[in-house]
Each structure stands twice: as structure tokens, then as C-alpha cells.
């Protein structure tokens, strides 16, 4: 993705990163995005019909960044023609599965295919195994197994629970990882914005920042 911010950067406007959250029905996409954006567990989560939207502003290097999370319906019939529209201008992808339901893990291949079909192969992606508070250790999908798949697709793996308070930081780091990755990837950065009444003069400079140093500030 070469242009994380579609409109003219700066000028009172925050940077916006759009993240689409995918995965089978009932894996906890809504609870995960709710946990990140509202800081708590969504007690009475309902089936998502179509697409829900949530956002949160975070700070990276003293800059406010708006993370827009598009929470999609899991049922296949919504994906085909409807959700398609929401892949437009997406910067990053989160694929969620339920660690206690192997079939939701096996669907990942389909989700990956869908992501690729929308030209998002180069976009940052993360794999999230949700509900690690549920079931017994034996009934949960083995981490090594999930890690192998994540490695194969070159994406980080997070195992977490949207329910547990103790896992809160982990949910945080899923989206912060993506945000930092996107931040360090953007080709242009606003250095200064001249007064708003003057001709809109924006000084741009190519950003020299590698992925390596982007993890230094995990602000929340």
C-alpha cells in the first residue's frame, strides 16, 4: 500500500488507517474490536449484520492517528457482494479464528484467498486466535500449529481473549503492531503546515524510517 492517507495529509486532518477484521461467524471479531476501541468486553454481543464500524485515536511519535476498524459479518452470504465494497482503501487486515473451534482455523485459507483477491497481499496482516480463555488447554488449537500457518503467510500471530482483563494489553498490541507497521510504511509525512489562511502550503518529505525502530513506542 503506497498511500495510507488518501486525502491531502495534514491540514487539521488526522492520519487515518483503515483496518478490516475478517473471520468466521462467532469467532469474536466484534468483541475484539469493541475491546480495543471501548476498552471493555462487550457483554451482549450480537451477530453482526453487514459491516460495523469502530474507531479509536492513538498516538504514535506525538502524532494522532485514527484507526478505523471495519468489523465484518462472518456469514458467507454477506461477503460475496456486500462486504466487497469495504475492501476499498483498506490498509491492513486482521484475520480472527476461535482457538476452541478448529473449523474456524481451517477457514483461514479461504480468508487469505479473499484478501489476495482484493489485492491486499502486500498489506500488513495479523492472525488472531481469540477466546484463549475458553475450553481446556487440550481442547484449544496448538500454538505451534497456528504459528506454522502464520509463518507461511508471513504474518504475526496473536493468541488472546477479548473477555479477559489480563489479556487487554495483548488486544492492544494487535492493533498497535499494525498501526506502527503502517506508520513506518507511509511514504510521505507532513513536516509542517503553514497557517490555514495562507495558501495551503504543505512541506512533504520522504520518510526515512525503517520497520526496525517502529516498535520503540507502544503508546496507548
Amino acid at each position: 500500500m503506497s498511500e495510507p492517507n488518501e486525502s491531502v495529509p495534514g491540514l487539521k486532518q488526522k492520519k487515518v488507517f483503515k483496518i478490516i477484521v475478517l473471520g468466521d461467524s462467532g469467532v469474536g471479531k466484534t468483541c475484539l474490536t469493541y475491546r480495543f476501541c471501548e476498552g471493555k468486553f462487550l457483554d451482549k454481543s450480537e451477530a453482526t449484520i453487514g459491516v460495523d464500524f469502530r474507531e479509536r485515536t492513538i498516538r504514535i511519535r506525538n502524532e494522532d492517528i485514527k484507526l478505523q476498524l471495519w468489523d465484518t459479518a462472518g456469514q458467507e452470504r454477506f461477503r460475496k457482494s456486500m462486504v466487497q465494497h469495504y475492501y476499498r482503501n483498506v490498509h491492513a487486515v486482521v484475520i480472527v479464528y476461535d482457538v476452541t473451534k478448529p473449523e474456524t482455523f481451517h477457514s483461514i485459507a479461504n480468508w487469505m484467498q479473499e484478501v489476495e483477491s482484493h489485492g491486499l497481499t502486500g498489506a500488513p496482516r495479523v492472525l488472531v486466535g481469540n477466546k484463549c480463555d475458553c475450553g481446556t488447554p487440550e481442547s484449544r488449537l496448538a500454538t505451534t500449529y497456528a504459528q506454522r500457518l502464520a509463518d507461511k503467510h508471513g504474518m504475526p500471530l496473536f493468541e488472546t481473549s477479548a473477555l479477559l482483563e489480563s489479556e487487554c494489553d495483548n488486544v492492544e498490541s494487535i492493533f498497535m503492531t499494525l498501526a506502527h507497521k503502517l506508520y513506518s510504511k507511509q511514504p510521505l509525512r507532513v513536516l509542517s503546515v503553514e497557517g490555514e489562511n495562507k495558501p495551503k502550503l504543505v512541506t512533504l518529505s520522504r520518510q526515512k524510517r525503517s520497520n526496525a525502530d517502529s516498535g520503540s513506542c507502544l503508546c496507548s
Partner: protein, 416 residues
Amino acid sequence: MESNSPDAESGDKCAINGDCSLTSNKDSNGLNHAKNIDDISTPSELKFDEDFEFEDSDVTEKRKELEKCLSNPDVVNLEQWVHFAKSKGGLISDEYRRKIWPLLVGVTQEEMTVPPSLDELSTHPEYNQVVLDVNRSLKRFPPGIPYEQRVALQDQLTVLILRVIIKYPHLKYYQGYHDVAITLLLVCGDKASFPLLCRLSYGPNAPLAPFMQATMKPTQHLLNYMLPIIRRGDDRLAECLEKSGVGTMFALPWYLTWFGHSLNRYTDVVRLYDYFLCAPPLFPVYVTAALVLHRAPDVLACDADMAMMHCLLSRLPDDLPFEDILVTAKKLYEENDPIDLDGEVAALEKREEEQRRLDEERMRRRAAGRAGGRPVARGWSYLPVVLRRPGPRRAAFALAAALLAVYVYYRPDLFR
């Protein structure tokens, strides 16, 4: 899983729901529920115990008429019931709805059969999806409902849905169907809700039938009537919506569930159902348009940004004046028959198709850029969009060359 509760009990449940909206003015704390609350039950955001300060004299009058008609229903014709359902306040309380909803869609007593047990149905391929959605429908149950009763109702809901898609195997379950089913179940009980839901799901004019096809394409097509309807009401508003690129997704749950999924106030939901049960199948889309028109000031004040617009529209305030909205919707329907809008819908769909084509083209370019010449792709991305397409690019170069030639012709001194 518990088996279904006996008939007598389900009748009681209906009465409880009827009471919720009825007795609340006297009993604003909903104490009739409070004494039943056990530890497991959770408070709900649903406001079943709506407190209306006083009852409109029209409503009191209507209530009298309704009771008169219900005391001798055989002499009342359908038109009269439809009039009750559509006019201000609708059918007023669930006690009346339970009797009148089946009449509105022409369900007979003989069709109200005892449902099978859940176990008999659990082999259905959609069973898991249905159970998943039903288990997540807690918000739709009356607040303070005892745990056992809720679980029994959830089982009834699963049975109800599965019965319909077993009876009509070509109809596909969609997420949101459970929101319609639960509204019918809460009002009419498990026996009457089955033929009711069948009527709504199957048949040439069945309002839910388009949602249950193999794909969502028919639904999407019908939702595309929304913008042209809005345009007939407020051109500037339609312009604003279109410019933002918000699409119709924000209204999808409204339409698929007849607002059952999206409204917090139970009384609003059942009021709308009163109307929808006897309205033309596309009428909910007109209500959707009327609702957006009602919120025009907010929409016009919102940034023309897809995300912000989606966010604003998809969250419905609790105090929407639905009686007014229904009147607007009725007026819109009378003045703009769906047939008159076909042309505009076709044009809109053509534009969307074109956009989709451009998107796909861009995705291909994106993929190609990654595969081969990423720097090239990046370089192009800074050019204005028109220059990225080969046709206009060539034209631009030709124009530049021509201008240069003219310049050189008139100022040859510079080039000596």
C-alpha cells in the same frame, strides 16, 4: 438444551410481554419482572417497560375500538385490522398484537401446530449458524426474564427458524432472520409464529423472501431504491450521501430485520411490525429513506466521509418519532411508486458497476506493481488519476508537445 415449554407456559410468556408495554405506566420499575429475576439473568438495554407519561386520548379511543372488534373478530374485515395497524399508535399493545398479527397475514387457527422438538431438527446443515446467532440474541429478550425461561425461548426460536427453512429448503437462513423470528415469537408465541414467519418468507410477495435467496444480490438491489427515494424528498441530502460514498450498508440491518436488530426500544420495533405486516414488501425501504430524511440536518453537517457517515447513520437515536416517520414513508410511497424509480435505480447500479470495475482494475495494478516494478507503481501514484490511465496520458503528452511547438514558433530567439 431444554425441550420446549408446554403450551400453557408459552401463552403466559406472551402475556408477560404484553404486560411489559401495558402496565409500565403504572409500574415504571417493572416490578412484575423484578420479583422473578434470578442471579443468572442479566439486565437488558431493551426498554420493554417503556414509560409513557399519559395515554393520548386518540389511543384510549382506539383501544376501546380494538377491544370491541376483538370481542367479535368474525365480523371484522381485513381492511379494518389493516387500518388499526397502520394508523397512529398501531396495535397499541402485545395483547392485541398476538391476536391481530396472524389475521393481518391471513394465518388460520389450523396452521398453528405444535412445534417439533429441537433434537429432531439438530441435523440441519444450518443448525450451528442458527444456534450461534440465537445464543447471541440476549439483547432482544425482556429485561429480567428468568434464565430458564430465556433458554426455553431461545430453543423455541431455534426450532421456529429451522422449521421454516426445512419446510422451504430453497430458502437460505441469513443473519438477521433470527431478529425477525424472535419478534414474532415474543408477541405471538411458538405456535402462531411459525405460519406467520412462513407467510413472510415464502411466496411471490413475501417481504423476507428476497433476503433468503442464494446470494444477497436481490436484497442489495432492493436497498438501492433508498437513495432515489431520498432524492425525491431532498435532493441536496441525496447528493451529500452519494458524495460520501456511504452506500446502503448502514441500512442493511434495518431492512433485513425490520429494525428489530437496530432499535433499543421494543415498543418501537413492534409498532413498526404492525405496519410492515400489512404494507407492500418494499415499504421498509421507504421507512429507511424517511428515517434518513428525518436526520437530514445531522447528515448534512457530517463530513462527506464514508466512515463518518456510516457511523452516524448506522447508530439510531432512541427518540425517533416513528409515527411521523411512518407518515412520511407512506407519503413517499404514494408519490413515488417503486416502478417510477426503476430507471434511477438502474442508473445507480450502473454507476456502482463502473466503480467496481475501476476498483478491480486498481487491484490488478496494485498486484502487478508489487510483482514487478514497485517503484514505478509508486511513482505513478503521485500523478493525478487522469494521467495514470494510458489514454489521457497520451493525450496530455500530445498537448504538451503541441504547446511547446507553438511556443518555439513564436519565440524562436530563445532556442537559438
